[in-house]
């Protein structure tokens, strides 16, 4: 393993340890299985959908993803890496509010927000909740509190920001899957910092060039995505150069593309002292239902919070919250640098996706 401090002899030791401690082979009574299967309620099998065959349903965890195509399948997997593939509804449409929102969004020069995802129900019903299993928020907070004691000024700002946000999550009852801080500049540059779990890397995307680069702090390593491999339904793999995603980063591109129909207008409410208008959409995709609620600041006509929920049948399985929006604040160009930092190694990487049916 390159850059891996775990030496070969240790790998061998671990390998031997695992082999020596494999559980004994307990035979299976095939007749009993068949009998059990035939007795079972037919409805009990409906959740059996989380193998590779349902992969196209399990990948799009970011709340902004599109219906799957061959191209977008690969790109959605890229989202797992870059934490930046966005989903917006096919429809949104209070006629006046939406037009104003879109107009205001179009005028935005920079935007920052935090995206948080929670698992609801069991993992077998929760798409891609496997990606982050059983994170421990308390430990993540404690780790940052320790780091804060010796942090320089620049790092201190980031740590304090992360701590503030994470502490607000401690009251959540659902299981936290991930927290990502996203900063966008000029509609084409995007930086995503993974805050939880693990906060040891960030990803920079340039929507104009299609460049996607990840920086791993712990390993002092930079990886540039240059190839994509799409695994077809017949098992064949097709390799190609990474496709460009959009002329602008997804946050802007998807808002621009929003249609203006079939939107439910919700009663106004107050969030953190801010008057907001709710616009709710519902969309069915591959047996799943997405509902998305855009809480728009009445005064600025810009999104204040965005909630997204994924249902399988009537079961809520995963939800996302985007909040802490900051619009048009100056963002340093260095944040979006794709240059190799001093002391870093670099390599080219590949992303994998599945062909959609």
């Amino acid at each position: 393993m390159p850059n891996d401090p775990v030496h070969d002899n240790e790998m061998e030791t671990l390998h031997k340890l695992f082999q020596d401690t494999r559980p004994a082979d307990m035979g299976v009574d095939v007749a009993a299985i068949i009998a059990r299967a035939e007795e079972a309620d037919a409805q009990s099998i409906q959740s059996f959908t989380h193998g590779l065959s349902s992969r196209k349903n399990s990948i799009p965890t970011s709340i902004w993803s599109h219906p799957m195509t061959i191209r977008s399948a690969a790109l959605i997997v890229a989202a797992v890496l870059v934490f930046a593939l966005f989903i917006f509804p096919a429809t949104l449409g209070d006629k006046i509010a939406l037009a104003q929102v879109k107009e205001r969004i179009d005028a935005v020069r920079t935007v920052q927000y935090v995206e948080t995802s929670f698992a609801e129900g069991t993992i077998s019903q929760s798409p891609n909740s496997f990606a982050v299993s059983e994170p421990n928020l308390a430990q993540a907070i404690e780790r940052r509190e320790q780091q804060l004691k010796t942090a320089d000024d620049k790092t201190k700002d980031d740590l304090e920001f992360e701590l503030r946000f994470m502490r607000t999550l401690q009251t959540e009852k659902a299981e936290l899957l991930y927290v990502r801080r996203v900063r966008v500049k000029g509609k084409q540059l995007e930086r995503t910092d993974q805050l939880f779990p693990l906060s040891n890397y960030h990803v920079v995307r340039d929507a104009q060039s299609g460049l996607t680069v990840s920086f791993h702090k712990d390993r002092k390593h930079k990886e540039t995505l240059t190839k994509q491999v799409v695994v077809k339904n017949n098992g064949e793999q097709k390799e190609s150069a990474v496709a460009k995603i959009s002329p602008s980063v997804d946050f802007f591109a998807q808002f621009t593309a929003l249609p203006t129909k079939n939107v439910e207008q919700l009663p106004s409410k107050v969030i953190n002292g801010v008057n907001v208008i709710g616009l709710r959409t519902s969309e069915k995709q591959a047996g799943n239902t997405w509902t998305r609620t855009y809480w728009v600041n009445e005064q600025t006509k810009l999104p204040y919070e965005i909630w997204s929920e994924l249902y399988r049948g009537t079961q809520l399985t995963q939800r996302w919250v985007i909040k802490d929006f900051v619009y048009d604040a100056p963002l340093d160009d260095d944040l979006f640098s794709t240059e190799t930092p001093a002391g870093y190694t670099s390599s080219e990487g590949t992303i994998y996706g599945m062909e959609s049916k």
Binding site: V6, L17, T21, I34, F48, G51, S53, E134, Y352
Partner: protein
């Protein structure tokens, strides 16, 4: 590896073909599930549940080329789901409860590497256990693990490295603890 004909026969309800599938993969499935759940009995139940579902819904079986990865993913997902359900059931209890579930006759086993490994694995995240099992039990390449778990191989590589480091530390601690409890030679 499952061939097209065998899978077709299973779809047609051929019990013999199904038995062939069971015999081919039963131990591997048990091994992965046991590493993740920490309990062979739980692993047996998970394995049986998956076989039951395969027999009930053979039309869901993937292409033969993808079958093995698909099956492994089913085992991993079911095992992690099982752990979550168990954790929710005992929400509010301390982590040490796992030890309380063991009966007295496992005390002697605690001296063994198997017990140290199991204890160490139980302290890792379920996903880490899955990656370690696929790597060291099934001897899979990082790229193949990535395909099974639907994650980029670079992500798997990073997670594997981290899991190994944590496992190494936990196993070492367990051994040191055991050695410290042994009477010193006079």
């Amino acid at each position: 590896m499952m061939d097209q004909n065998t899978l077709k026969r299973i779809r047609d309800g051929d019990a013999k073909a199904f038995e062939q599938l069971v015999c081919t993969y039963q131990h591997e499935m048990l091994c992965i599930a046991a590493r993740i759940t920490g309990q062979v009995a739980d692993a047996e139940e998970i394995r049986q549940l998956i076989f039951v579902r395969i027999w009930q819904s053979p039309e869901k079986l993937p292409h033969p080329d993808m079958f093995k990865a698909w099956l492994r993913r089913c085992v991993v997902n079911e095992s992690i789901s099982f752990i979550r359900q168990q954790r929710r059931k005992r929400e509010g209890l301390l982590n040490g409860d796992v030890e309380d579930q063991h009966d007295a006759n496992t005390m002697a086993e605690k001296e063994s590497d198997a017990q140290h490994l199991r204890q160490a694995l139980n302290q890792l995240e379920p996903e880490q256990r899955a990656i370690l099992s696929l790597k060291f039990d099934q001897q899979m390449a990082v790229r193949d693990i990535g395909l099974v778990l639907e994650q980029p191989h670079t992500t798997i590589q990073s997670k594997l490295e981290r899991a190994i480091k944590e496992l190494r530390s936990l196993v070492s601690n367990a051994r040191r603890s055991r050695d410290a409890q042994r009477p010193s030679p006079r």
